[in-house]
């Protein structure tokens, strides 16, 4: 959906910086992710994508700048608070609870809030069972429900991690390289699930290297380079932008480039 009309942004990253020793992973990064869209976040290795995710979800504290979610600042919240606000996130190295069953994994993820006394109740009330089954069916893991998560294949674990975020009914889902090490069938399955969830109103921000996946799935793509935002816009325009090509390929293709309508430049590379 190409659009030059301003959309409401759900997550705003404002001038965020983060350095590790001498390496500036994020260097005054400013960008926004639009509500209701499937936002892609791409950039060459080392551009700071995962660091940005970590800052956005509270796993790292930035040295400067702030992150806003639906207008509220969430910069220094701890990861569980961030999760509580409705921001769910997957990891590059899939993390699940290996010694618990698939069902138990899902139940842990669905506990949000509630006082202590509620915790003494059975961990799967009928309502929760329904929801769990729903989510299991949605991702296609029903048959493996009572298996130990550690015994699942890598792709199945990725689906499980995905399911664990879904079950918590988040407002936005941040997916960190969901296509990594995954076969095409599963990838298509995943993509279709993302579209379905997006149709129900969940916003996505997806970090990926697989260009086909990103261009085919995302409504809008943001490009990062060397810790800052390079540009953002609809996928077909971004992929032709000479600045983006330069960032990835390193060749100077500036001359001959003309301003392309629909691409907003948010800061120099």
């Amino acid at each position: 959906m190409v659009g030059c009309e301003p959309q409401v942004s759900l997550i705003d990253v404002e001038d965020v910086s983060k350095a590790y020793g001498g390496i500036r992973a994020l260097d005054g990064c400013t960008m926004s992710f639009e509500d209701g869209r499937i936002n892609g976040l791409i950039g060459p290795n080392g551009s700071g994508k995962t660091t940005l995710f970590n800052v956005m979800t509270g796993y790292e504290k930035p040295d400067g700048g702030c992150v806003r979610f639906a207008g509220d600042e969430v910069t220094r919240l701890s990861p569980d608070r961030v999760f509580g606000r409705g921001i769910g996130r997957t990891f590059q190295l899939t993390r699940i609870f290996p010694r618990m069953t698939v069902v138990e994994n899902l139940h842990v993820a669905s506990q949000r809030g509630g006082g202590f006394w509620k915790e003494l109740s059975r961990w799967s009330s009928p309502g929760e069972r329904e929801r769990t089954k729903e989510v299991l069916d949605f991702v296609g893991l029903t048959r493996l429900a009572t298996e130990q998560a550690g015994n699942l294949s890598y792709g199945q674990q990725k689906l499980l991690e995905f399911a664990c975020i879904i079950i918590a009914r988040p407002r936005v889902m941040l997916l960190d390289e969901p296509a990594g090490g995954v076969n095409p069938t599963l990838l298509r399955h995943l993509a279709s699930r993302v579209r379905e969830l997006n149709a129900e109103g969940i916003t996505f921000v997806i970090v990926e290297h697989d260009m086909e996946f990103v261009m085919g799935l995302c409504d809008r793509v943001c490009v990062m380079h060397q810790g800052r935002a390079l540009c953002a816009g609809p996928p077909e325009l971004v992929r032709e932008d000479p600045l983006v090509l330069e960032a990835y390929l390193g060749t100077d293709m500036r001359e001959g480039a003309s301003t392309v309508p629909g691409v907003s430049e948010l800061g120099g590379g």
């Binding site: 509580g84 010694r99 069902v103 842990v108 202590f116 509620k118 296609g140 689906l159 599963l186």
Partner: protein, 376 residues
């Protein structure tokens, strides 16, 4: 849903919910029967067996059982291995000894009745201790729990005005004789152990317990998913401390004396750890199995060889053999074996069924993602 059933009908008519019914585990009915049978045996034991030494060993075993289940509630579920639970054991003993001394409780049933107080004091101690030790992880945690225990042991030595120092405290045992002496202790210990088991079971079934297991697997992720990890660990520790404290509180009047090195006994935790490990750490029946099997062996060897140093060597060698041969514990290993046998049988039945269906229709078998394990 007619199934070409193998020798055993795995789809019990009562629970056909494929998501929540684990068809590769023992049915609830079988498990309930097993527990009841075990309970009956344990209850009948001192009535049937009249040998005083045997029943005495039984009492110690029941106390081990109580403490093992208690220990497992914390270390088994949360994955934080504590080798310093002797702190709570010691507090249980000293509390009872001090109460008897200062309140002038006469030898008799009163001494047993105050056991819960020993547990409560131990649980109260667990709060500040927990605040200290739960800040660290894994190896540091293990050693810190030992250090804390030694602190208390040394304090017990250093305050003879309160604790009797190295001469210990006398706890006049109830003036009953023969089996009239051992039986009440046995049943109280057994009863408390049953309570502990019920609590352990309840925790395992609850959201709270699920949170603990998540902490065990990946604490940072658990935290990221909103689980209040510090609170969960602390509550588990306090609960665990209560039961271990009661074990100590019953031990004191049974044995008659409280010494710092046996109250805050570094060996004690290692016994508990081995019992629970052998049975299966983090399982419900593991501590029970471990305590019931190894407890009597440990006590018996102590009685037979305790006076000689041969005991130490034999114990150590046995210890090593057990650890190397049964690394996962009995219950998980057996459960896994059972499970894989059932699973392969079920899979073969499914394949036969799918082949029959495929012959009848042209629909591809298993179009769901994840149907074939490892195929994704």
């Amino acid at each position: 849903m007619a199934v070409a059933a193998p020798a055993r009908d795995l789809l019990s008519p009562r629970e056909v919910d494929p998501v929540f019914y684990d068809r590769f585990a023992l049915s609830k009915r079988t498990r309930a029967i097993a527990w009841l049978v075990l309970g009956a045996i344990l209850i009948a034991f001192p009535i049937v067996i009249t040998n005083a030494t045997a029943v005495s060993i039984g009492v110690f075993t029941m106390l081990f059982l109580l403490a093992a289940v208690g220990w497992n509630i914390f270390s088994g579920y949360s994955g934080y291995i504590s080798i310093g639970h002797a702190v709570y054991y010691g507090f249980g003993q000293y509390t009872v000894a001090l109460l008897i001394l200062h309140l002038g409780i006469q030898p008799g049933a009163g001494e047993i009745a105050i056991a819960p107080l020993g547990g409560l004091v131990a649980a109260a101690v667990a709060v500040p201790v927990g605040f200290l030790v739960l800040r660290v992880r894994r190896h540091t945690f293990i050693v810190l729990t030992i250090a804390v225990m030694f602190i208390f042991q040394l304090l017990a030595f250093n305050f003879p005005s309160i604790t009797g120092g190295s001469t210990g405290m006398n706890v006049p045992p109830p003036l009953w004789t023969g089996t009239h002496f051992t039986m009440p202790f046995y049943y109280v210990a057994l009863g408390t152990a049953i309570v502990a088991l019920v609590v352990s079971w309840g925790i395992r079934r609850s959201k709270f317990g699920l949170g603990l297991l998540a902490i065990r697997d990946d604490e940072d992720r658990a935290k990221g998913l909103g689980i209040k990890v510090t609170r969960a660990k602390l509550i588990a520790l306090v609960t665990s401390a209560f039961f271990v404290g009661v074990a100590g509180a019953l031990y004191a009047p049974f044995v008659g004396q409280v010494f710092p090195q046996f109250a805050f006994d570094p060996f004690y935790d290692l016994y508990l750890a081995v019992f629970v490990f052998v049975g299966g750490l983090g399982t419900l029946s593991g501590p029970v199995l471990g305590a019931l099997v190894l407890g009597p062996i440990q006590k018996y060897s102590e009685i037979q060889f305790g006076a000689t140093t041969l005991y130490l060597i034999v114990y150590g060698v046995l210890f090593v053999l057990i650890l190397l041969l049964l690394p996962r514990g009995i219950v998980p290993s057996v459960a896994d074996r059972y499970r894989s046998i059932l699973a392969s049988r079920w899979r073969r039945a499914e394949e036969r069924r799918a082949a029959a269906t495929a012959a009848a229709t042209t629909a591809p078998a298993g179009s769901e993602v994840g149907y074939q394990r490892g195929g994704v």
